[in-house]
Amino acid sequence: MEILVCVKRVPDTAENEIEVNRDGTDIERDDLVYSVNEWDNYAVEEAIQIRDKVGGSITVVTVGNEEDEEVVRREMAMGADNGILLSDDAFNGSDGKGIASVLKAAVEKGKYDLILTGAQADDGAGQVGGMLAAMLDWPYASLVNLLEVIDDKKIKVGREIAGGNQEMNEIDLPCVLSIQTGINEPRYVGIRGIRKVASLEIPVHTAAELGIAGNTVGESGARMKRLDYFVPDAGEGAEILEGSTDEIIDKLVELLKAKGGIK
């Protein structure tokens, strides 16, 4: 099975508190630790498990600049076979549809049976996979938390729906799936793994090479634009208990007793 996994480099929210910069034009980017989007990591792990079971190869792709190359390399250290960086100034400022258009062009240059994305990334939109599928006229399933290959024509997928239930579907290949966290346990990538792929050449494709007209992607093609970042009005919010830990515990225990929290 030929699998393409679309990944994104994002600020690591487990490592950083995300704050808005002084004029609200961006988040505070100094000292941010970046990593591969958490959901994408599950997608790559799933691809590795499929390949190891049924054969084939995995290509990891991202849209970005030379800094974004590091996540492609990291996922190759994890076990992906190939990496591609889609990079061009014309891609800057793309909205979800712009990114999906760029990826579509890359998909059409290869021959893939299965495309995986993370269910969402830092902006919480969860949009690129579904758009890419529609552009390719391939079937799509989102929030996939179970995947079984039936044969080389179809797979079985479980989708995470409400209440801890799972919606089971059979879906024809080629298809696009967005992968939910928890579908597997992504393997650890050690320093040795990173070193092994450190000097690999990762091919870069530009807009011209992909046959993408500049005005269809990037800022000029975007119908969605971010104006600013802000921290919403705190509103009521919690009463923050202050004082020494002992004093805080005194207050908390009283409150818990009053509310029936200690039986």
Binding site: W138, G163, V231, I249, V253
Partner: protein, 328 residues
């Protein structure tokens, strides 16, 4: 001319989802004069019941009644919607598991702009809608400008817009089935098999009065013991947020949230839980919420009644000791 606004209604067991009435409010914020058309797909008597219910709130209801829609598959309904919806319209869809399946591709097929997971609207100027979204799990918000002049698909975060209970519309029900299936059915490339029900765990957290709930802040699996110790001291049950289940440290049946269980305790202790909207969506019945988190900016502090800014690894054992002392 004002753009036509549509609301895709999600329903289950013959009852419309709460988001149906929230979308009326959302549509009103787009254009106070807009008449909103509900679009409802399904099959048979159950669908008719939902249409009747919804017709009291919407000025018009479009019904798609087909046996293939008894369980709605986004791949099947998307081509139908693409046929019946006008290209320049505005389509509101709830941002939940079905909406996320349907909406991004629908925006492509309608050649419309896509605005995902909107939590508020702040007006339209020159065909551009100013809306509010959240990023980074709710740690920061953004204003976005979406060019809706050529049509838009907008997903609405459940619970973000107040439900419009006025039931003032009283609209007609229009059967759009023939138009929707014109030229044949599509979407057979993805076939619904069954719903695998959630496994029943050793505790039923939906019945608990007091929940001690743990999130990513616990850091290591071994540290879970202190959470169970606190729960024991309080006479509570242990629940958790998604990362704990993803890490397979606790079973899925203990997960609170839209993709886990909906709980309604009297007291909810959120320990090291950031408080994503998906997590908070599983908390009902207005419990007394205590949040302990070392990140003062965690969204959980907006939802909580009482907050403690501390590392749970330090705070929880001390609290447990105190409660045990009191109880002797």
């Amino acid at each position: 001319m004002a753009q036509q606004v549509f609301a895709y209604i999600i329903h289950k067991s013959g009852v419309a989802d709460d988001t149906a009435l929230e979308m009326i409010t959302a549509a009103g914020k787009l254009n106070a004069d807009a008449s909103v058309t509900a679009v409802i797909a399904g099959s048979g008597a159950e669908l008719d019941g939902v249409c009747k219910e919804v017709a009291s709130s919407f000025s018009e209801v479009w019904k798609i009644d087909h046996e293939t829609l008894a369980y709605i598959n986004a791949e099947v309904i998307r081509p139908m919607l693409t046929r019946i919806l006008p290209k320049q319209g505005i389509v509101l869809i709830p941002h939940e598991h079905f909406g996320m399946d349907l909406a991004p591709g629908l925006s492509v097929k309608l050649d419309a702009a896509y605005l995902p997971d909107a939590v508020d609207f702040e007006g339209i100027e020159d065909g551009k809608l100013k809306a509010v979204r959240e990023e980074y799990g709710g740690q920061v918000s953004t204003h976005v400008l979406c060019d809706i002049s050529q049509g838009a698909v907008i997903t609405i975060r459940p619970g973000s817009f107040k439900a419009d209970e006025s039931k003032s519309a009283g609209g007609n029900i229009v059967d759009k089935t023939a138009e929707a299936v014109e030229g044949g059915l599509a979407g057979g490339v993805r076939r619904f098999l069954e719903i695998a029900e959630a496994e029943v765990g050793d505790v039923d957290i939906t019945k608990s009065d007091v929940l001690v709930s743990v999130g990513r802040g616990i850091e290591e699996e071994e540290n879970l013991e202190m959470v169970f110790d606190l729960a024991k001291a309080m006479g509570a049950d242990v629940s958790c947020s998604r990362p704990i289940v993803d890490a397979k440290w606790l079973e899925k049946s203990r997960q609170v949230g839209t993709s886990g269980k909906t709980v309604k305790p009297k007291v909810y202790m959120a320990l090291g839980i950031s408080g994503s909207f998906q997590h908070l969506g599983g908390l009902k019945g207005a419990p007394f919420i205590v949040a302990v988190n070392k990140n003062v900016k965690a969204p959980i502090f907006q939802a909580a009644d009482v907050g403690i800014v501390d590392d749970i690894l330090d705070f929880v054992p001390e609290l447990t000791d105190r409660i045990n002392e009191i109880k002797g």
